[in-house]
C-alpha cells in the first residue's frame, strides 16, 4: 500500500501543476502519413522533446514563434519557424541515405535517454540485423539477444525475462493474444519477419494500460499495406518458402496484406519416398502460418484494420509397426482495430478480437492408445484513449477478455475399447482491467510517470468442485452464470526519468503486476504441449513486485550509447506440477489437484552497449543475475535455482555494411541452465533405477555459439537478395538435454552407465533467396 500512497501523491502534484503558457502539439508524419514515433524535436528556446507512439509531442512556451528542428532516423531533418498558437502537423521527407544506413533502433539515442521505461523498440523494415536460422529470420530470436532475456536451451522459442517463466511474457500481434508462438517445437516463431513492421518489447516501467503478465510484453504490429501500388516478395529457404503481397484495394484508401509461409520438406519426402521408408516416416512434419491484414482509411483522421492469423504444426511419427505418435497444435485469431484521431491532442484506439488455440498429442503402442488434448478460446475487447494536455500525456484504458479453457482431456484405448479418462469440461473465465496513466514532463530534466491499473478475474459456472481426493465424495455444483471464484488486483506503476545532461540520464521504476492465467510446464523442456490453466479457487493469481534502477549514457560523437540497469523482482503464487504428475492422468478428481504453489525471486545487473548508426552497427548485452524458487513440496521447502537460472548471459550482435554486401553475426555465451539429474542408482528386479538430485541442483555446461550471415543485394538486380548464413559456425555441441545410457546386464555383473548429451544443431550452413517486386 506504500506504493499506492506514492502514486496518489504524484497525482496530487499533477493536479496542482498548471501554468498559463501557449501549448502546442506537434504531429510528425512520414511520407505515407504514418505517425513517426521517436522523432526528436528541439527548439531555439531550449526545448527537447520526443514524439510518442502516435507521432506526437507537446511543447509549452510563452513565446509566439519557435524555430524547430525535427530529426528522425531515415528522414531528412526538418527545420522551420512555426507558430505556437495552433497545433502543427509536420510531414517528413525520406532520406536517400536510408538504404545505405542500417538502423537497428527506430528510436534515436536521445529518445531512448528520455524514455521512462525499460523498453526496446525496433522496426523490421530493415530486418537485416535479425539473426538467421536455417535461412529464416525471426523477430523473437532478436528479443532473445536482449539483456535480461534468457533462453532455456537451443531451439527454445520461449524466453525467460528477469527470472519469470515463459507464461509471464505476453506476445501480442495487433492486440491479439497468443498462447503459443512456436513452429517446429520452438525453432522459429510463427511470426514471419516480412509481415511485421514494428516490435515493442517492455520488461519494466510498464504504462498502466499494459498488464496481464508479470515479466514482459512484446507487441508486434503488422505492416500497413501499401495503398498505392502492388508490392510483394517471394522467398525460398532451406526449410520453408514464403510469399508476401500488398495489394491496394481502393487506391490511397485501403489495402490488403497477405503473408504466407509453409515448410516443404514433407511435400518432397511424402511424395517421393516409399511408404515405409525410414526418412519418409520420420519427416512427416509440416508447419505453416498465414497473416492477412486489410486496412481502410475511413476518414483523414480515422482508420480501421482487420487482421487474421492462422498458424500451426503437425507431426506424424512412426518408429515401428507397434509405436507411433502424432502431435499437432494450431492457433487462429481474427481481430479489428480502429484508430480515431479525435483532435490533435486526443486519440482513441478500440480493438476487439477472437482466437483459439488447440493442441493434441496421441501415441499408440501396439494395442494401447493414449490421446491428450487441450483447447483455449478467447474473446478480447478494449480501448485506450490518449490525451495530451499541457505537460501531461494521459492514457485511459480498459479491456475485457473472456476465455474458455479445456486444460486436458485424456482418452485411452485398448484394442477396440475406448475410455475417456477425464471428461474435461470447459472452464469459463473473464479477466478485466481499467487503467489510468500519466506521463508528466515536470521540467526539461525530470519526467515522472505514474499509473494505476485495477484488474480482476472471474471464473464462471458450470463447474463442479470435488471435495477431498476421492471422486465418489460430494461435489459443489455451480450452474451456468454462477461466479465460482473472483479475484482483484491493484497494480500501481511509477517510473521516473531524470536527465543529468544532454548525454546521460537516470531511470527508476516500480511495477506491481498480476497474472490470472498460468502455464504449467510438464517436462524439463518447454513444449507446445505444456498446459495453460486459468486461476481457480486453488490456483491463485500470480503476482509480482519489480524495482529497477538504471543509468543511461549517450556518446553522440562515436555514436554509442550504453546503459547499466539493476533489477529486483519478487514473484508469488508460482505454479508447478507435483513431482511425477502427468496431466489428467492422476486419480485426482479436480484438474488443479496436482499443482503446487510457491514463491520466487530474481535479481540482477544488465549492461548494454549499442551502436545503431553507421556502416558498423551492433550491440553487446550482458546480464548477471540469479533466479530462485521456493515450494513447500519441493526439496523439503528449501530454496532452489529455477531451471532457467543463468548467472552470466552475454549476447553480441553486429552488422557491417559494405557496398552490396551486408555481413552480420551473433555470439551467445551463457552459463548452463540448472537441471535435475540422477545422482545415484540402485537395482530392483535386476533393473537399474536412478535416484535424482535435489531439484535443479546440477548445471548444464556453458552455452556458446556463433552465427554468421552475409546478404548480397546484387547491384544489377536490386530487387533480389541472396542470404548465405551459417548457424553455429564452429560446431559447438550445446546440450539440448542429457540422459543416461545403460549397457550390459546385471546378470553378467557388468554395467556401463554413461551420461549422453544430445545437442540439436551442429554447424548448419544455409542459403535463401528473396525477390521483391
Amino acid at each position: 500500500m506504500k506504493f499506492c500512497a506514492v502514486t496518489f501523491i504524484i497525482f496530487l502534484i499533477i493536479s496542482i501543476d498548471s501554468t498559463a503558457q501557449n501549448t502546442l502539439t506537434v504531429s510528425v508524419l512520414g511520407e505515407q502519413d504514418e505517425q513517426l514515433m521517436g522523432a526528436t524535436i528541439s527548439t531555439d528556446k531550449g526545448h527537447f522533446v520526443i514524439t510518442n507512439q502516435d507521432g506526437k509531442a507537446t511543447i509549452s512556451c510563452s513565446c509566439e514563434e519557435l524555430v524547430v528542428l525535427i530529426s528522425h532516423v531515415g528522414y531528412l531533418d526538418f527545420k522551420e519557424n512555426i507558430s505556437t498558437r495552433s497545433d502543427q502537423t509536420i510531414r517528413m521527407q525520406l532520406s536517400d541515405q536510408q538504404l545505405e544506413e542500417i538502423t537497428v533502433q527506430s528510436q534515436s539515442s536521445e529518445a531512448e535517454l528520455r524514455e521512462s521505461s525499460s523498453r526496446v523498440v525496433f522496426n523490421l523494415e530493415s530486418k537485416a540485423h535479425l539473426p538467421y536460422l536455417l535461412g529464416e529470420q525471426d523477430p523473437i530470436k532478436f528479443i532473445q539477444t536482449q539483456s535480461g532475456v534468457s533462453t532455456g536451451t537451443d531451439g527454445n522459442n520461449g524466453y525467460y525475462v528477469r527470472g519469470g517463466g515463459i507464461d509471464q511474457n505476453a506476445i501480442e500481434l495487433d492486440h491479439m493474444e497468443f498462447y503459443n508462438t512456436n513452429h517446429l517445437f520452438g525453432f522459429f516463431s510463427m511470426f514471419s519477419a516480412d509481415a511485421i513492421e514494428r516490435a515493442e518489447f517492455l520488461k519494466a516501467g510498464y504504462p498502466a494500460q499494459v498488464g496481464g503478465r508479470l515479466s514482459s510484453t512484446l507487441k508486434l504490429y503488422t505492416i500497413d499495406p501499401n495503398r498505392e501500388k502492388l508490392e510483394g516478395s517471394i522467398g525460398i529457404g532451406i526449410l520453408a518458402a514464403n510469399l508476401n503481397l500488398q495489394v491496394p484495394v481502393i487506391k490511397n484508401r485501403s489495402g490488403l496484406m497477405i503473408s504466407y509461409r509453409r515448410s516443404y520438406l514433407d511435400l518432397i519426402t511424402q511424395n517421393i519416398l516409399e511408404e515405409d521408408h525410414k526418412i519418409r516416416r520420420s519427416t512427416d512434419y509440416r508447419f505453416s502460418d498465414l497473416i492477412v491484414k486489410y486496412q481502410h482509411q475511413l476518414a483523414p483522421n480515422s482508420a480501421i484494420s482487420f487482421t487474421g492469423f492462422m498458424g500451426g504444426d503437425q507431426n506424424d511419427f512412426q518408429s515401428s509397426r507397434t509405436f507411433s505418435n502424432q502431435i499437432e497444435w494450431r492457433t487462429w485469431s481474427a481481430g479489428a482495430n480502429w484508430k480515431w484521431l479525435i483532435s490533435p491532442t486526443t486519440d482513441l484506439e478500440v480493438y476487439s478480437n477472437i482466437g483459439t488455440f488447440d493442441q493434441n498429442f496421441s501415441a499408440q503402442i501396439s494395442t494401447y492408445g493414449i490421446d491428450l488434448s487441450s483447447y483455449i478460446q478467447n474473446w478480447k475487447s478494449g480501448f485506450v484513449l490518449y490525451n495530451t494536455s499541457g505537460a501531461h500525456e494521459l492514457a485511459f484504458g480498459g479491456n475485457w477478455i473472456n476465455r474458455g479453457f479445456r486444460p486436458s482431456q485424456v482418452d485411452l484405448s485398448t484394442g477396440d475399447n475406448e475410455f475417456t479418462l477425464d471428461e474435461a469440461s470447459m472452464i469459463h473465465t473473464s479477466e478485466w482491467a481499467v487503467s489510468f496513466d500519466d506521463s508528466w514532463v515536470v521540467n526539461s530534466r525530470l519526467r515522472i510517470g505514474g499509473g494505476l491499473r485495477f484488474s480482476g478475474f472471474l471464473q464462471w459456472g458450470p463447474f463442479d468442485r470435488f471435495d477431498g481426493s476421492e471422486p465418489s465424495l460430494d461435489s459443489i455444483h455451480f450452474s451456468s452464470g454462477d461466479v465460482v471464484q473472483s479475484y482483484f488486483g491493484l497494480e500501481p506503476r511509477v517510473h521516473v526519468n531524470y536527465l543529468l545532461n544532454s548525454e546521460a540520464s537516470f531511470k527508476w521504476s516500480y511495477d506491481r503486476t498480476y497474472q490470472y492465467i498460468h502455464l504449467s510446464p510438464l517436462s524439463s523442456v518447454s513444449l507446445p504441449t505444456d498446459l495453460w490453466v486459468p486461476s481457480t479457487s486453488r490456483v491463485r493469481p500470480q503476482n509480482a513486485h519489480q524495482l529497477t534502477f538504471g543509468y543511461y549514457h549517450v556518446v553522440e560523437k562515436l555514436p554509442i550509447n550504453f546503459s547499466i540497469e539493476a533489477f529486483g523482482k519478487l514473484l508469488k503464487n508460482q505454479v508447478e506440477w507435483r513431482n511425477g504428475a502427468i496431466a489428467g492422468y492422476s486419480d485426482s478428481p479436480n484438474f488443479d489437484d496436482d499443482f503446487i504453489f510457491g514463491k520466487g525471486h530474481s535479481y540482477g545487473l544488465e549492461l548494454s552497449v549499442r551502436k545503431s548508426k553507421g556502416s558498423v552497427t551492433g550491440e553487446v548485452n550482458y546480464t548477471l543475475s540469479r533466479t530462485k524458487r521456493k515450494f513447500d513440496e519441493v526439496n523439503a521447502g528449501k530454496t532452489f535455482p529455477a531451471k532457467y537460472d543463468r548467472i552470466h548471459d552475454l549476447n553480441v550482435v553486429g552488422s557491417y555494411h559494405y557496398h552490396q554486401w551486408m555481413f552480420s553475426g551473433l555470439l551467445k555465451l551463457a552459463s548452463g541452465t540448472a537441471l535435475t539429474l540422477p545422482t545415484a542408482k540402485y537395482l530392483i528386479g535386476e533393473r537399474v533405477i536412478s535416484e535424482y538430485s535435489e531439484r535443479n541442483a546440477l548445471r548444464m555446461p556453458i552455452y556458446h555459439r556463433l552465427d554468421l550471415s552475409a546478404t548480397l543485394t546484387p547491384s544489377n538486380h536490386p530487387n533480389s537478395q541472396w542470404v548465405f548464413s551459417v548457424y553455429n559456425v564452429y560446431n559447438r555441441r550445446n546440450p539440448y538435454f542429457i540422459y543416461f545410457d545403460v549397457q550390459g546386464s546385471v546378470e553378467d555383473y557388468s554395467l556401463d552407465i554413461n551420461l549422453e548429451e544430445v545437442s540439436l544443431f551442429p554447424v548448419l550452413p544455409s542459403i535463401s533467396y528473396e525477390f521483391r517486386f
Binding site: A680, G685, I689, S690
Partner: protein, 283 residues
Amino acid sequence: MKKIWIYTVLISCGACSGLDDDQFPDVRKVVIDGYIEQGQYPIVYLSYSSGFYEPVDSASLQELVLPTARVEISDGEESEVLTLFRNTEVYPPFYYRATDLRGEAGKTYTLNVRSMGETYTAETTIPVPVEIDSIWIEVDQDVDTLGNLWIRFQDQPDVRNYYRVFTQVRGKDEKYIPAYQSTISDRIVDGEVYDHPVLKLPESFINIGDDLLFTKGDTIRIRFCAIDQAHFDFWRSLERELYLVGNPFGSSGNEVISNIQGTRPVLGIWGGYGATYKSIVFK
C-alpha cells in the same frame, strides 16, 4: 508420454563430458525389494544404492550386497526372522526368506529391517486374488506369426482395485517377467468385465518394435496379481522412470514412490501379491 524422437532430422547425438563428476554426491542408501504372495514364503532382497558414476562390475556389485541385516516379517499375530539364502543366478546373490510363515490373502504384513543401527519398516496387504475369466490371442493383422495376448476379468465394484501382470514364455523365460506397463488401475473400469491387452516386456524401451507381441508356438503363462495402492504406486512410478530413461519430454523430478519408512532415507518396496495363474498356447 514416451519418446518423441521425432527430431531425427535435426538431432545429432554426441557424447561428451560436459558435466563434472564432482557434481554428483555419494550418499549410500539401503534398497529393499521384498514381496509376499499367498501360500508362499516372503522373500526380501537387500542391497545398497551407489553413486551414479561409480563403476558397475562384479567387484562393486558384490560390495553393494547387504547380507548382515535382521529382517523380520509379522502378520500381527505371528512373526518370523527371515533366514539368509544364497542364489548366484540372480542379483543380489543373497536373499532373506521365511521358513515357516507363508502369505495369506486378506492379511496385512509388516516388514522390519535392522541394519547398522538403523531401522526400516513397511506394511503391505495381500488382496483377495481375482480370477482371470478367459485368456486369448489375437493374431496380428500383418504378421500371422505374431499375436496380442488378452485377458478378461471381472473387477470388483465400488472399491479401488489395483493389479499387476507377469508373463512367462515356457522354454524362453526362467521366471515370471512383468508385462510392459504391468500395472492396472480400475479407475476407468470400476466394476466392469474388463478386457486387458498384455504386452511382452520389450528388449529396449528406446526402440520398441514387434517384441511387444508373442510368437506362434509360445506357451505363455500369466501371473495375475491383485495389489494394494502403495504397491501399485511404486511399480507405476518405477516403470514410468524406467521407460522414460531420462527423456526430457517426460515429467521432471520423477520420483519412485516407495512405501518404506526408515530412521535414514531408504529406497524400495515391500509388496503383497494376491496371485492367480493361467496359461495359453499360441497355436
